[in-house]
Symmetry: C2
Subunit: 668 residues, 2 copies
């Protein structure tokens, strides 16, 4: 129900009794801007600036209401200086939809102010690594490299900025999404892929700036935050269930050739580690750059580096060990797939008609143009023939966030508007290729880049490239923040590289970090390790016997939880209840609104990982319920507790009233 | 794509290249009839006859095609003797929709003939117990008691007819659905609840007779039968996942008071039987009739028969044993809930305004009028307060199929049109009450009566009241036929009373039957026993130590399969792949089109239960694949095999290539 009230020159708009918009001459709902952007990109790091040439606040308004075909539409028309902009409000399927007129010339940015209260919290906007509660900050929504360090105060970030322009910032992310949830129990989703700024720093409004007018802005009000979250994925799409084998062990990231990989597997299996898969990202070959080891982006089995892998892959599968590979949406210049795509005219171009080559750091690759149906069909065939046909049971579907803004695409749309859509296109290519091959129940792919389309099209997110450190913005703690942000955006499946990835500027992964990371990963839907970009600098899963034993222990726990994890993944698929949930989705109290160092794994497990180097305990606030420590079996009441957490005994609690209590209770 | 061809005076209609309709003057697509029905009902058994007063075949036709708003509509108008009837054909969401004009007076039956080929198979029409392939028979679609015996040739049916008018016939069912699947890879669904005859006995057409013109008739063509089935539930609704505790053991049906039930539980637990629940159908009290023991239909805890159950229910749940109860959509005359409903005016009426009391066999009960919003709200409150509030974690939601055709309902619609809808209303009351109480993940309800709405609203079907015998039409074999028919109607969750129910006319359940039935039930989503209507005449789960051991063994296997079963139930929820599947959904060959004595449990288990008394082997045709016997681990190739199946070693095979092969292989 949409209603309006006018008082003291202020117009207020309510949806289902909740105030959502407020307009006055002094603080108008709509401001138009004329901007001129400059976009600079260096290896996936974007530097976007906008020069404001003029601004127009639309102070006057006119409200008209009409009914036709049983449907009421209210139209608000705002105007100033003879220019008008109108918003149609209507209700459909229990949600409010705002449709907009086009912008009067010369304006090209729309600034909308949604009503906010000072005590409101905001979450979502896709995958956010630094902030969970978004209040108090502006969030540019633009898919790009997440950055190294991601905090201008830290030394690593400063070095990365200085040497490689790669430091990132609190908002840089592979996966932005123009969707947020408010503690006032509503969500807003803007149907646009244009660049946007969602500014939650103002006390009485949320200021949303769009460089492309959204097709619609949807708002949904529900009785609880859990229902709000469920409604996001009802609108945008729900994720599938995962292939059942993913719960049967850990997926070990390894490289370096057939015999190297088989030896690593043998070491782990001889220590009784349950291995569900070998993730071999260099199955297609390798190349070396100053960054470290890189992959040969030509998505065909390298039988020199991996002799006999075609038969090993079958043998391993019979043993219950899947082989996973790697692909991304680029083809390496002067290699066979590139040549084929060139011949078929399937690549993105420069305005002079030549192929657009992107610099990925000492090598160039071309963009498969997913706006062209033939290119989509071709790339699906590459996946079907080269990956699935070879026997891979999964892969990292890397990248998606680099689309240059000056590439010329087959559909003629400006790349500025396709840039944010690209990760979703890439997800859909993977999903459709798998589906069309009839292997949806068998194959796993995971992505770091995302868009609103990922909710329906991406099978599993991973948190991208964390530093191999403990930093809040880019280390172990950030994988929880990112999972929680995605959960609040309607994407309920998430995991991370165990141990992190980025190994630069003197960072080296420690044994302690690797084990703590594995402790956390055991309490997600999927465990997978990564060697990092400089494997030799990092502590690895097989670096010593104690580490192997630790990996075994955490994997055993993960596998033991299979029935519970399967239930959660099915719940996410069916009801849109994310697997990793903020505490407040079940305990809707303000004291939990900012919590990002502990989380609920489903309804019944509360996980408070050790996120500090050298620490052997955590301070955790348990909600009001009876909680049993998963390992010590000690019972705790709601309240704040300091819990011992030596290695391999993380602070994880189950709800005593859980339907799975007997499973948890029997964990040795 | 809809297309037409005209040749030799015949009009043919194609949808996506498949011929679906054919019309000629000699064999017209549409015939109108004027009928006068007589409906006689005795305790849920309906005797419906129709006197044909006149018939009009519409020989002439006119085809017109129009396009508006980007959508093409073709209209076929058939006429004769100055009367016309028209059908609009249009495509929406990849399906063909037929919309009909109203019938010209005095006609009140529409007979439609769909094109068919002689070699075509047909499945579905809801829950069919006698025939899986429906070709060659007429199927009246009318929800009612399934009958005792259900085969006019058998002695039991003849006795039941003679003594109680209760014998039933091959088509009598609790759950008819105007939906069928053809081996030509399409389904048809008619959006109507009126009485219908789906006659598949004619060589060149399927003749569908409707007593109420359907709102639409939907037809969908897909590349495979599996996709056809998935599309039914995409159209009509998908089932939820089940509460996770249902896989943790068997649900034991028991009665007779607190101490009796606790003693039975103790006996089973002391033999290490995994018990997930006690299903106590007389929790609300009992009454005795000549039929056997009956229940007191006043849905409140009977604290005389069940002293202390309010505290036991809590204690048992802590042990992992749920208590389940019973309810149906009637209230017993002269009892508190009846008095309350009467006062609030929530009951179905006679045309003189008095309450309509239904004879249920030596007692009367009134109908809660689900066409009245207040009655729905009240009954949901009864469920919430009396059942959920008391601590029940599930119940049988019995009946739904008895609505008398002369009851006067609040919505003023003729009961003839509401009769078939009633089971769906009843399902929705249960589902909504549970959902509104926030306990969807914890509570299980199961129903025997159904309608097309059950796909979206019923949590779990059970096969109703089988005889405690081996008969094809009403004994153990019929529970497989019924599960397969429902699967082909889009309903993928089904189980049965282990051991059957109906114990009349000298039938007594044997030990062998009980154990064989448990063997089959272990390979469904849910194991639940029933004592039967005359418990003392029947062999029970605790009748001797060998039986207890058998129940333990089959329950252990069922629990062991939990990850696989959870995966199947999630697949059903998400993709509409039924849990129990005909072989041909994965091996689409004619030789499997009639198979109803073996089935696939998901993609990877093939189950061929012993269905004959005294038999210790089965003959089973395995599809082309490598199959491993689940117990002996012997490998079999596709083809027909005679397999030993002594007690507790049923013929169950897993696909060697299964993703769950290691789970199956490790089963001891």
């Amino acid at each position: 129900m949409i209603s309006f009230s006018k008082q003291n020159g202020k117009l207020s708009v309510f949806y289902n009794q909740l105030k959502i918009l407020e307009h006055s001459e002094i603080c108008p709902l709509v401001t138009l801007k004329e901007g001129k952007e400059s976009v600079d990109m260096y290896r996936g790091n974007y530097f976007i600036e906008d020069e404001t040439l003029s601004t127009l606040s639309l102070g006057s308004y006119l409200l008209s209401e009409s009914y036709s075909e049983g449907r009421g539409v209210s139209t608000l028309t705002f105007s100033a200086q003879g220019l008008a902009f109108s918003i149609e409000l209507s209700e459909r399927e229990g949600r409010l939809h705002l449709c907009f007129s086009s912008l009067p010339k010369p304006y090209n940015r729309l600034v909308l102010r949604l009503f906010a209260t000072e005590d409101e919290y905001v979450w979502g906007c896709g995958e956010q690594f630094s902030h969970f509660n978004l209040r108090g900050k502006n969030f540019p929504l633009w898919t790009q490299e997440q950055g190294v360090g991601r905090n201008k105060q830290t030394e690593i970030t400063q070095i990365a900025d200085r040497l490689d322009r790669a430091g990132g910032d609190y908002h840089t992310t592979f996966y932005p999404q123009p969707t947020f949830v408010s503690s006032r129990r509503y969500f807003v989703h803007a149907d646009t892929y244009g660049y946007a700024n969602f500014d939650f720093s103002l006390p009485t409004c949320h200021q949303l700036e769009f460089w492309d007018v959204p097709a619609t802005l949807t708002l949904s009000v529900k009785p609880s935050l859990l229902e709000v979250v469920q409604d996001i994925s009802l609108l945008l799409g729900r994720q599938q269930i995962l292939p059942p084998w993913v719960y049967d062990g850990i997926i070990l990231g390894m490289q370096g050739g057939t015999s190297t990989c088989l030896k690593k597997l043998e070491v782990m299996q001889s220590s009784c580690v349950k291995v569900a898969g070998l993730w071999i990202q260099d199955w297609e070959g390798e190349r070396y750059t100053s960054f470290g080891k890189r992959l040969r982006w030509n998505w065909q089995w390298d039988d020199e580096l991996y002799p006999g892998l075609d038969t090993e892959i079958v043998r391993l599968k019979q043993q219950g060990v899947r082989v996973l590979g790697y692909i991304n949406p680029y083809v390496l210049a002067d290699h066979p797939l590139y040549e084929e795509a060139l011949r078929l005219d399937l690549l993105g171009k420069r305005c002079d008609g030549s192929v657009y080559l992107v610099d990925f750091g000492e090598f160039d690759a071309a963009i498969v143009d997913f706006t062209k149906a033939e290119a989509v069909a071709w790339y699906k065939r590459v996946i079907t023939d080269e990956l699935i046909g070879f026997g891979l049971c999964g892969w990292m579907a890397d990248f998606g966030e680099y689309l240059p803004t000056d590439v010329v695409l087959a559909n003629q749309r400006p790349a500025m508007l396709e840039h944010n859509a690209w990760p979703g296109y890439w997800a859909k290519v993977n999903k459709d290729a798998i589906q069309e091959s009839g292997k949806s129940d068998e194959i796993l792919f995971f992505m770091r880049a995302g868009s609103q389309q990922s909710l329906a099209s991406c099978q599993m997110m991973w948190a991208g490239d964390q530093n191999v450190d403990w930093s809040e913005d880019d280390g172990l703690p950030s994988v929880i923040t990112s999972a929680l942000s995605l959960a609040m955006s309607g994407m309920g499946l998430h995991h991370s590289d165990i141990g992190g990835y980025t190994t630069l500027y003197g960072m080296k992964r420690s044994k302690e970090l690797l084990i703590r990371w594995a402790e956390q990963a055991a309490f997600t839907a999927l465990m997978r390790t990564h060697e990092g970009n400089r494997p030799k600098d990092n502590w690895q899963f097989d670096s010593d016997q104690e580490t192997i034993a630790a990996i075994k222990r955490m994997t055993d726990i993960h596998v033991y939880l299979k029935p519970y994890l399967m239930h959660l993944v099915a719940q996410n698929a069916q009801q849109g209840r994310p697997v990793i949930r903020p505490l407040f989705l079940h305990y809707e109290q303000e004291r939990f609104f900012g919590v990002k160092d502990s989380y609920l794994l489903g309804r019944d497990l509360l996980v408070a990982p050790v996120l500090e180097e050298g620490s052997n305990s955590v301070v955790v606030t348990l909600p009001d319920d009876v909680w049993v420590h998963l390992f010590t079996k000690v019972e705790y009441q709601g309240g704040t507790h300091c819990i011992d957490a030596p290695l391999l005994c993380p602070a994880v609690f189950y709800r005593k009233e859980s339907d799975f209590a007997s499973l948890f209770a029997s964990l040795q």
